[in-house]
């Protein structure tokens, strides 16, 4: 036990530094873009068909693209997606993705977006129709109805599932180690390879992940409490 404590004192600062330098930014940036993808996808999938024939045909294509995107990213492992983007696309001369950070953020964002879009879609549909009608009857435009009435109510409902997505994402950033990003887990692997304290180093890495995700769970708790002020 004292050996483990010595290792923790020695390596924990480096692991925490790696978490702050790599794990958290990777998760935060990916979650930000993931949310944008999620909202766009959810809105497209929920959009009502317009009367105009051309607009309806265009929306039909967008809906098919959105549905395929969600289907693909939910039905394939994230590790495989990372390999396709980081190793596969540059091999097909799409060199933009030869940068490990670009690849990681792209895959994490798209993956999070696919899952979160379903949470957001469910939250939007759970807002009663009469809330939209009340807003329309005040003379609001469709955009105002969504922005000022539907999204704020849907946001409260979607806090728990979106928090789950973020917590999963923080843990999933460890997959970035397979495409050469020296994030926190990769660093613990490197240290373990040098000092042979394999079990201890991986337990330390697990503790750092648990610490980060616990902070997120606490933030989620306070967010839920804050937003529950307007609903029982």
């Amino acid at each position: 036990m004292s050996e483990f404590i010595d290792l923790a004192i020695k390596y924990l600062p480096s692991l925490l530094k790696a978490a702050i330098q790599y794990t958290l930014p990777l998760a935060a940036i990916s979650f930000f873009f993931g949310l944008i993808f999620a909202v766009i996808t959810a809105v497209i999938r929920l959009a009502k068909m317009p009367q105009n024939e051309w607009a309806a045909a265009f929306l039909k294509i967008l809906k098919a693209v959105a549905a395929t995107y969600v289907w693909f990213f939910r039905s394939t492992p994230m590790l495989v997606q990372l390999f396709i983007v980081f190793y596969g696309l540059p091999n097909a001369h799409i060199t933009f993705f030869s940068n490990a950070w670009v690849s990681a953020i792209t895959v994490f964002s798209l993956n999070t977006g696919a899952y979160a879009s379903e949470s957001i879609r469910a939250a939007i549909t759970s807002v009663p129709e009469v809330q939209k009608e009340a807003a329309l009857s005040l003379g609001m435009t469709n955009w105002q109805v969504y922005w000022d009435v539907v999204f704020p109510q849907a946001a409260r409902i979607s806090i728990p599932p979106l928090s789950n997505s973020l917590i999963s994402l923080v843990k999933d950033t460890s997959l970035a180690s397979v495409i050469t990003i020296v994030e926190m887990f990769y660093l613990s692997q490197q240290i373990a390879a040098q000092n042979y304290h394999i079990l201890s180093m991986y337990i330390l890495a697990a503790l750092v992940y648990a610490f980060l995700t616990s902070i997120l769970a606490i933030i989620q708790h306070y967010l839920e409490r804050y937003t529950s002020r307007f609903a029982q």
Partner: protein
Amino acid sequence: MITVKDLTKQYPDKVALDHISAEFPRHQTTAIVGPSGSGKSTLLRSLNLLDRPTGGEMTIDDLHVDFSQALSNATVLKVRRHFGMVFQEKALFTHLNVLHNLTEGPVKVKKIPKAEAAKQAQALLDQFHMGNLAERYPYQLSGGQQQRVAILRALAMQPEYLLLDEPTSALDPELEAQVLRVLRSLAEQNTSMLIVTHNMRFAQLVADRVLFIDDGKVGFHGSSEDFFSSDSPRIKQFLGAMTF
């Protein structure tokens, strides 16, 4: 004055409104009555285009709308600006407190500065003895209070016509009385109102005119006195089945 001519709403399997023609004068209260499923609510929702009629015409003061043609978004917004609406269900915005429910429309739609809108909203709440509810959220209100706030939210937009879709049907008699008192006071102030109601006693008390819709068609359109003293067997049968 609102004039509808041959207003029709056809669903694939049903005709909800069958060539409805009627006039709704300003500064009068019109009760829209009829059996359940006869098309009363559809008619009300067609006026502010929450339901789109499939045929006919409507004129609101100087604005003419022909439902045989596609309506632009601008026309839809123009039509809706004439109306305020109160729904059967609880339709207050759950994420906003009472004051913000009242200011949301004026600020977002009429672009009135927030402080000015809040002042007007507070004055409206005070006028109807609900000033103490300003900071409360909808879930903290009784059903009757929610409906009264919903009426004020519609009034905050200063609409020319107030549409009320069975505003008391979900309330128990005590709470219903609170709402009806507000509506009666609005009627006495010559507010232009169209009320879908099953409460015949209330209709008789406050309505200047009655539109009786029966199976999607106009069964009667005229003064309240004429309706309640009508010799028509169908109207007698309807009134006989209703609770006064």
